[in-house]
Symmetry: C2
Subunit: 234 residues, 2 copies
């Protein structure tokens, strides 16, 4: 039995990560978090992509990161626009959520234990988010060791391998990989500040996350259908 858990936010990176993992393992479980994010579209995207990828079960786990605060993604702070912080090195933007990947990986390790999975995938990326401490290799390695000691399975000698296949890829390489893997891009969601027209949500095109995605696809020379099609509310 070979199964893997994939952290799936519904964004481009985690969805690409899922499509990368799904052909490598017999069974896939996906995990999304309801963490008080201001927009629920990513939860809808996550559920949809999980279904399209044929995951055996999609876990949607509530976790009150908004009770901790300290981030523009959960608090009522303004989301950065215009991309002026995009290329700063080692800069931690206001969209950083304290200990987020640590919390997400920990909950996913619980899912891995219950589903008896040996692999845990995360779409972390060290290039585009150089300032996020929890998107770096040394953190992921330390976490793998910690989880070995934290769980019943780990103590019994079963290893949970943390996989971060996008860690050293640029956004354009990720766009290229997503396209090669036939990821249905119109169901992935990256924008921090969506605009609704009729029943359809469109990305704002101006937040840092939109700008990164746009630039990646442009550099890869690939068309991203999200700008024309948008994302259906139901």
């Amino acid at each position: 039995m070979d199964s893997a858990v994939v952290l799936l936010s519904g964004g481009l990176d985690s969805s690409t990560c899922l499509y990368y993992a799904k052909d490598k393992h017999e069974t896939i479980y996906t995990v999304a978090f309801e963490y008080g994010q201001r927009h629920k579209i990513e939860l809808m995207a996550s559920e949809k992509i999980s279904k399209l990828a044929g995951a055996k079960k999609h876990f949607q786990i509530p976790v009150g990161l908004d009770k901790i605060g300290g981030s523009a993604l959960t608090d009522n702070l303004e989301v950065p626009k215009g991309g002026k912080d995009l290329d700063k090195e080692d800069f931690i933007p206001v969209t950083y959520v304290p200990a987020r990947n640590l919390v997400f990986l920990s909950l996913a390790a619980g899912v891995a234990e219950v589903t008896q999975s040996s692999y845990l995938y995360i779409g972390a990326n060290a290039l585009d988010y150089s300032g996020y401490p929890d998107c770096r290799e040394d953190f992921l390695q330390a976490f793998e060791k910690t989880v070995q000691l934290a769980t019943k399975h780990g103590r019994e000698g079963k290893k949970l391998v943390i996989k971060a296949p996008l860690l050293h890829k640029s956004k354009s390489e990720i766009a290229k990989l997503a396209s090669d893997l036939n990821l249905p891009l119109e169901y992935t969601w990256s924008c921090y500040d969506p605009v609704k027209r009729g029943n359809t949500f469109f990305p704002c095109g101006e937040c840092d996350s939109c700008l990164l995605r746009k630039r990646g696809f442009e550099e890869a020379g690939i068309k991203d259908p999200i700008w024309e099609k948008g994302f259906f509310a139901k």
Copy 2:
């Protein structure tokens, strides 16, 4: 500025840990988790004890461990009674919640970052729960290293020290310490299967957690008021 975060479930161990920590630091923050546990009394106990200890803020963070399952504390499984598993070495009981302390410590690390705290206390105990992998010293040490790499503060060189002052104490030593620290025992809650009489909750006296607590106080020769007074619903 010297502040500490204390994980506070409202049970005897974490409450003793809080009373131990509160005289050592200028400011104390407490954290409790609403994790789908079957009984809410421990959340009431936690809030009450936090107030009595003079904590600056009590964080109650929802986290859906019940969505992961795999434990008698969140699922509809029978809670063990009669104590037949109590002294088994390296035995993991059905009350084990997958990756629980890993998840709790991760969220508390987020609270520590936001509150700029340098210490994180956990009432983990390696003796009474020898089978719980996440109540052991090697796990706590590995976690401390991981958190250093996971957070903005850690990357800036600020250390978060994990403290587990009860790790190697027996239940009777904890009872003695609680009594020495004037912990209001009637507001701490340990029972997995409470009984309500009028407005007051009483511990069942038969679940493993009750039996451990009872034995600890008997061995220490200290009276535990919870058996007579119970715990008020409001």
